[in-house]
């Protein structure tokens, strides 16, 4: 039998995890072709590159040697232009055709900018790719005035780096609060106060109308207030999955490529994973695009295993984020914004500490956690909250207690046997193998 031909489009988190999962299982028996316009790297560590904690090579997940060692034929610098599902071949931007037995769509997302005049001008940057990170890094000097447009999660991942590089920062957000898709009002208030006390200007509820040039500087015009002058503008105004190339392919696309529990699209030999995939959500049971790293990792591993012939059903992803800004830790899990859930809240007046637990019946469906970094890590709470939301443990007996003391989750976690339920669970049906230990047969 001829070796199976797997074609992976996109070498980011999802694509790379699929490749290692395939090799973990088949030890090199199949052919893998990677088509990617960028060399494989982990974009989510770019903030640490900006902060000069790591060099450029540190973001790379697989260089040429590693790809060769895993017997991956890499077509780097090439884009997939079209998928011919009926003919089972991929058409590249240079017209080359790559036939496949199965195809993985792992093309991630791209940043989007609001359509305001000047949005594409000089010294206006997105922060999503390595070249963009280089450009921002090269544009900052101690004392530089930086206007950050957008106060979402991605913007927040680079705040520490910008401050540590000596930037003077103004954060502009169109929504009435910062971090609108990560935390609620109460948490956003605390974070805003914390940043302001540390010299960051934060202006939620403002709309950018234009970005103009004035003697080498940028002027960000607002509909709702005085303009902001800056040396450099960062646009962190959201992302959109890279789906355009699938038009006309017959692959079903909603917010992302709709996939089943095996990460398979409506076309049986086409899979999708990561930011571009709309897969099962653990809490809601519905399908969703999560666009977070842990989901991309798990999607990639499950897709890879199924492509390699190991039937693996994905139990679904949990939406979750964690970020710290100037030593304030902020995390949220699951349906933290479920308006129909019962909320248990603990908000401290004496210090920045906030906790919100969201219940549907006896089940914890979401949580928000906020506190000084030092205080948060003196507990086991971050992971335990994840475990409680992830397992959906029946906490009916504990609800009164948790409502009275949302800060005290440890006993509920231990006594309900959450760890006992979790320990036998593995994503691929056995102990995980570190990527670096995956090898192929000679």
């Amino acid at each position: 039998m001829a070796a199976k031909r797997h074609v992976i489009v996109g070498g980011g988190t999802a694509g790379w995890n699929a490749i290692t999962a395939i090799r973990e299982i088949d030890k090199g028996a199949s052919e893998i072709t990677l088509v990617a316009d960028e060399a494989p790297y982990a974009r989510m560590v770019l903030p640490y590159y900006l902060g000069r904690q790591i060099g450029e090579s540190h973001v790379t997940t697989a260089g040429p040697q590693r790809l060769a060692a895993l017997k991956v034929a890499a077509r780097l610098g090439r884009r997939a232009a079209r998928a011919d599902a009926a003919g089972s071949k991929l058409v590249l931007d240079n017209g080359d055709e790559v036939p496949y037995d199965d195809l993985l769509i792992a093309t991630g997302s791209s940043p989007v900018r609001p359509p305001v005049p000047g949005a594409e001008g000089a010294n206006v940057h997105s922060f999503w790719t390595l070249p963009q990170a280089r450009a921002v890094s090269g544009g900052i000097k101690p004392g530089s005035r930086v206007a950050m447009i957008g106060a979402g999660f991605i913007a927040f991942t680079i705040l520490n780096a910008l401050v540590s590089r000596g930037a003077r920062l103004t954060v502009l957000e169109i929504a009435p609060r910062i971090l609108p898709r990560m935390v609620d009002d109460a948490a956003a208030q605390i974070v805003q106060g914390w940043l302001e006390a540390r010299g960051v200007v934060v202006r939620p509820g403002v709309q950018v109308t234009a970005i103009e040039d004035k003697g080498g500087a940028k002027v960000v015009k607002l509909k709702d207030g005085p303009p902001v002058e800056a040396d450099l503008v960062i646009m962190a105004t959201g992302i959109r999955p890279n789906l355009g190339w699938l038009e006309g392919s017959g692959v079903e696309v909603k917010a992302g490529v709709v996939v089943d529990a095996r990460m398979r699209s409506n076309v049986p030999n086409i899979y999708a994973a990561g930011d571009v995939a709309e897969g099962p959500d653990r809490v809601t049971g519905a399908k969703a695009v999560h666009a977070i790293e842990p989901t991309a990792v798990q999607h990639g591993r499950v897709a890879g295993a199924n492509m390699a012939g190991r039937e693996v059903a994905y139990p679904g992803s949990l939406l979750m984020n964690i970020v710290d800004v100037l030593d304030l830790e902020i995390a949220s899990f699951g349906a933290w914004d479920d308006a129909g859930a019962e909320a248990a809240v603990d908000l401290r007046a004496d210090r920045p500490a906030y906790r919100k637990l969201l219940f549907r019946g006896g089940r914890l469906v979401g949580a928000i956690l906020l506190g000084r970094t030092r205080e948060i890590w003196a507990t086991n709470d971050v992971g335990m909250l994840k475990g409680l939301v992830y397992t959906g443990k029946d906490l009916s007996a504990w609800k009164a207690r948790l409502r009275a003391r949302p800060q005290d989750i440890r006993l509920a976690y231990l006594a309900t046997g959450t760890a006992r339920e979790l320990l036998p669970q593995t994503l691929l049906g056995g102990p995980s193998v570190p990527e670096r230990d995956v090898t192929v047969n000679a």
């Binding site: 989510m44 970094t373 030092r374 006993l411 102990p431």
Partner: protein, 157 residues
């Protein structure tokens, strides 16, 4: 593989495991930097140490974007400080609450079984923590269920 087997009935709450652990991990006695944590059970004079079960899924390891977490010769999931960037993804991936973040070094840290000589087990005076050949288990669930009665605790402040 040898694992940390915890027999909570034997724990007296002396906290030596936390102290020894933090000393081994950081070179100073700081229980807030221990990766084994002792819980107390109100009204029961009962205590139980809790640490990383070295689970098969290795959530922390698979989540790491820079492959900073590997498996040590002792079988522990171990963070390589020089590779870790401190993004904390492992801490939210882990559903056990046993991966921590060190605000001083800006790195993740967790139980590494002290390279095969776990300090917590060595110092435990009552042998509530054993380092033995065994399958990993939830050592605390029944003990905690018996002692942490949610109804009795409900109103407690």
């Amino acid at each position: 593989m040898r694992v940390l087997k915890i027999i909570p009935e034997r724990c007296t709450g002396c906290m030596r495991c936390e102290l020894a652990c933090s000393y081994e991990q950081t070179g100073t006695f700081q229980p807030s930097k221990a990766v084994i944590r002792v819980s107390s059970f109100e009204g029961h004079t009962s205590y139980a140490p809790y640490t990383c079960p070295q689970c098969a899924e290795a959530w922390c390891l698979t989540a790491c974007p820079v492959e900073a977490i590997g498996i040590s010769p002792a079988g522990a999931k171990e963070v390589a400080d020089d590779i870790c960037v401190g993004c904390k993804l492992c801490t939210i991936a882990c559903p056990y609450g046993t991966v921590f973040y060190d605000p001083d070094s800006h790195k993740a840290f967790k139980c590494d079984l002290c390279g095969g000589k776990p300090a917590c087990a060595t110092v435990c005076p009552t042998q509530a923590i054993l380092y033995v050949e065994a399958g990993t288990e939830d050592w605390l669930a029944s003990f905690a269920a018996e002692r942490a009665l949610p109804a009795a605790l409900a109103g407690a402040r």
